[in-house]
Symmetry: D2
Subunit: 412 residues, 4 copies
């Protein structure tokens, strides 16, 4: 009886298997990259080389053809076991590739030119020419209210602003950013994409954090970046999280949470390895002590819970994305989907933090030494609750409002 | 988007739908039966009349043919919403009927005569002639070590002992009990079945508890009860929980936990109904207050977690029961299955208690009045952690031992 | 080493010792009163007879002279061990007597006539002629916004309204109620007191709740109740919780929380008694099992925490009440005092619920039977979080606002 | 109303005030030492220079004369606010100095020569000549069963072994270690002290941990270290934690837990500073949002709980140490004192971890950057549960056993 998450499609199984191979390799360098805060360029190169980065791209364009969020996310959880920084960095690109494949699957509902654009990007990814990342967070505002502005020019836009948490930016060559475009007295929310090496784009080399130190989450400064008109896609209402925004958040953030499940799984394995090996004070194996058994049980319960909530919500999500074209779901459906997604994220991330904590306790003082992988897992895992779009307390408010049938705009 | 549990088979959908109808009816009398501690004979009669009690019986014998534990359990959760006492009482019979259908599906592996016996029982159930209950708990010992003894006689056995928590006994006419049979210097664990109205069987009218007051969980005293040889089925090793015992525990207890999920769902609905109606101090709907939204969110997270862990483990259980004949699973598989089952039970029952508590908090002081259904739900839901085979702290020890690959006998 | 709460004054020690004697007596009838929902008139009579009800009354007026909230509250916790319903009923009166003694200690700052009025009441209490209770809660509003109205008449007021949770009302002969008096376009918040047997006062015999069933917390209906002018004391601003209201809430509710500490202590004793007695399945004393030891430890930690937070906040409260005349504390001090009080209440009540739950788990299935005191403790203890002035989520909001230096009016 | 911990003696107030001054200074360098894992020699020098290190030394020998564990511990909590690494390093010495002063207060009960030896050490400390540290932890065994062995020689002992977590070792010149001395077929537990610069003592420069990086907790290797007979003080039974061991553990570890309270207080202050400053997305101060108020409230409740449990147990400890000479308390008293101490430690350390977590959540993503003090607090605070003598699960077992009156030797 294997209680691990399993892919449900043939393409998914290959993707997951590939993730496991990469994870085993990445694990050997994870501590070093963490210590040096160095970007694991060789990991991303390996992921590109093996075709993993083309996982969600349809086979007809040269990708692996993994077409369910479930299987993609299972793969990301496996990657997270080896090196969480690499996993969240790779997830930036994988989520973008998934979104492209989604647009393409619904190409008959897409805006004119969109399908072609997306097809080109996907071919570029499959051809190992494109690595994409998003840069969306800004200080002092929320995702629905970007301050970065795309000012119309004669032939396109000039973009100015500053983005944070530009994970994967050292390796990416294509960047997506939420921007605002002046419209009447207000703004319209849009999505801009641009080459990382375009004039006006500066990736600062300033990522220095408690954990996820190898994720390259630098700031990205945009100064008078000129892009053609087609590179700014009209999107949502600026300043409110409408149904379209909810739809996008789910699609782009779903698999991210699973990287943290992978951290928890790695911590669990370490604790069990220790408990079944150590000869403690009185020459008793640690795992023979009932309190250690209980800690291990609490870890297993936590993992089982996380896997179950993932499994159930992932199937909901795949049903949702099969039913509605991007941005076309009725408001209540999109809100309900984001609600389920946030429940999943809430559970997985709190459980992951708790599991790492308990695994350290079960392991004992050696878990506190820098030479222990726990010293990395403990820091990496804390990144989860900071992830977009909601802080934990915001997620509660959102979930409650949707459940009660109230307009889910947060009181902030 | 409906996040409720759903049956996965056509027969299951009918069973669940029937459960919903019954639940709506039972809910109208639940408070009264609770207050009077009266047994809801009319509810059990209705369940028999509608065919619900023949839910797991194959269609060829006149049953509904629900052949997955998943769907059976979903039905029990629905029943639990209306009247938890009735649900756990009915579950006694449903679990026995499920076990019969399981034996019959694996009849080629069964002991001689077993298939015929089971077929007869199932036909009796479908013909609305048999209602079965178990009586297994004894004071001062655990399930694997019954003190009730079946002493061999010339033509069968004489059984003496005292059982507790004989849920459904007022309505049942067939009783199952774990007994021990002397063997060498020790005992063998066996399963006995006997008519409730046989000489020597006394159902005391003594069930008086904090909650589940309408479940008829009386003590059953067996004094020189004579049964034929075929009525005592050799089972497990006495005094240890071996793989066969683990297998049986899962099969007989699986759906029980779901009755508590139903309690939680009822509490959730009450809280939401209140939050979207009440005009509080300052004429604001309760649900418009962020702290109430957060409480509702925590309830939803708890429910989503319970449903997800059920869904995943139920699918594991159905796969397990499709793979192995009763008692034939390899030890590690049976232990692993019971481990997953106990994780599920642990999560569902703690979450149910927590959900009722939070729903009461969200509702306010009126939830504390005897006229509120909460005053019943609060008492009923606390029964869960006392349910066999493990107390919560024992479950942790068991889960930990299995995970660590240690012999899962508890240190007790 | 005794970790129980101890009185700190000589008068306090006598009060606590008396409480212990009463508790031992009340414990013998607690289950019966609970089952019958009968009011323990004989308990209240015994408390009056022994002088306990005159605990806070100065010795010069014939009372016991317990002049610290700390010692009074320790006494109430002892009473709570025996019968929580009696304890919270008695607390109604004790809190009122404490408030009178407080007013009298600061009589030089009191309004004209107040000291004399209070002196008369205290003498009446010491002479065993007066038993006082409050009736303040109303459906659909909060404590600071009573809807019960005192309409000025020629010679006083006519009061109309309906109060809930009139704990102790079967035995009281003097009642206090928050009322509003029309003032300009709005209202002024006032405190009215009146004889229970006055025309216009009807104590309904309708208390029927989940727990605290012997507390006599009936509704009290006031219909054209005529009182003289002096019986309505001008108090606070109506509709907001200003500093004066905060001051009153602390003074009148402080000792109430300790009744719940007493419940927790009773549950702890039961669990330990059981753990050191029971011979379980394999003839091992329950307490010899490590998981039971851990449960007992968690109970002890919970109790130690509750006692500690009580001890520290009670000393703060006694310092506060020694420093400021009633209603005269600066706003920030009164808010800060109520904040500390609410922290104490929050901790004690959640811990008490948790301790009862864990004690039941440690005890096993017998704790679920109606014959077990746990079946009463489990229901009684849940009353705590419903107690005035704040629900748990409101308490958090209040504590946070005061800590952040924000106006502590709740967003409701 | 100030809810901070306060010293209760005049000497204590000076000590606490001095701690606050030092903490303000140390805070300016804490992040740098953390990042470099450099030992804050200048901090320890400043503590020596100001007389802080002579805090517990009687005034007659030139110390500050702080003679209650309560006040000493309050001082350590203040130091912990500024730099936790420095605080736990200084605590090594302070605890040793406290233990010396305790022995000296009970000098009439002390072994011959002990008073003189201790007097000499205390004068040396007051004269700023001695800084003491302990080195007691060893891999693969527990505190009561040291493997480091003192072999009798003609004129004393030869000591061999390896100690871990030699906190403060870079600055100390006197080291204390638990050792074993062969006795019959077994061993006797003893306490050895020796100059750090003695031949045979090697302090490795190998401390590299998740947090507490500036604490200098290096390994100390003892190879054929020769010490005179008087430097090995006979102590406890080897291999069991008897009453004498319990007595010593309380005395030497009591104040350590308070350093973690200081971390929690620092985290709280940062969160409040942030909440009352930040202009969030919609130009609203963070603290104006109810969910942030609730987080702050939970932090305040956690702090209030920690402070209260400290206050109460510290007063118990001071009463205990005033009643019994070192090692002379009856077994049940010593066990009970260690039980209370472990309850205090358990609460303070879990709450501290929780408070830092919640403070980070309230602060938002900036708390995850290396430039935020939170990135240090989050790592430092996790050291707590690893501290001697018990892991959290061991503490539960110990507390439970003592409560149940069972021999408190752990089942390990």
């Amino acid at each position: 009886m294997n209680s691990e998450l399993q892919a449900t499609t043939e393409a998914g199984r290959k993707f997951v298997s590939l993730a496991e191979e990469h994870a085993a390799d990445f694990a050997t360098r994870a501590d070093q990259h963490d210590r040096e805060a160095s970007f694991p360029h060789e990991n991303i190169a390996a992921l590109q080389e093996s075709g993993f980065l083309a996982g969600p791209i349809p086979a007809e364009f040269g990708g692996m053809g993994v077409n369910t969020l479930h299987d993609i996310s299972v793969g990301m959880s496996r990657l997270g076991r080896g090196c969480a920084s690499t996993a969240i960095a790779a997830n930036m690109h994988i989520a973008a590739a998934w979104e492209m494949s989604r647009i393409w699957r619904w190409r008959e509902q897409a805006a004119p030119g969109m399908a072609e654009a997306v097809e080109g990007l996907m071919k570029g990814i499959a051809a190992k020419q494109i690595i994409a990342c998003g840069a969306n967070t800004e200080a002092g505002t929320d995702l629905s209210s970007p301050m970065t502005e795309a000012t119309p020019t004669e032939d396109g836009y000039a973009i100015n602003g500053r983005k944070m948490f530009g994970t994967l930016s050292p390796a990416a060559n294509l960047v997506f950013s939420f921007v605002r475009v002046p419209e009447g007295d207000g703004f319209r929310g849009c999505l801009a994409f641009y080459p990382k090496n375009a004039p006006g784009v500066t990736v600062l080399d300033n990522w220095d954090a408690l954990g996820m130190r190898a994720s390259g989450s630098h700031d990205i400064v945009l100064e008078n970046l000129r892009v053609p008109r087609a590179s700014v896609v009209p999107g949502r209402t600026w300043g409110v999280m409408d149904a379209g925004a909810a739809d996008t958040y789910v699609s782009l953030n779903f698999s991210l949470a699973c990287c943290f499940l992978g951290i928890a799984e790695a911590a669990r394995d370490l604790a069990i390895e220790r408990a079944t090996r150590k000869k403690g004070a009185k020459a008793k194996m640690l795992g023979e002590r009932v309190p250690i058994q209980q800690l291990i049980a609490e870890i297993e319960i936590g993992l089982a819970t996380s896997r179950a909530i993932f499994d159930r919500v992932a199937h909901m999500a795949d049903a949702y994305f099969s039913s509605y074209a991007p941005g076309e779901a009725p408001g209540q459906e999109a809100y309900a989907m984001l609600k389920e997604n946030q429940i999943m994220k809430w559970v997985i991330q709190r459980k992951a933090i708790d599991i790492v904590d308990k695994a350290m306790t079960a392991t004992g003082g050696s878990a506190y030494l820098a030479s222990s992988p726990f010293s990395r897992l403990y820091r990496d895992v804390r990144a989860g609750p900071f992830m977009q779009p909601f802080a934990p307390y915001e997620a509660l408010e959102y979930i409650g409002k949707v459940t009660l049938g109230i307009d889910p705009q947060l009181d902030r």
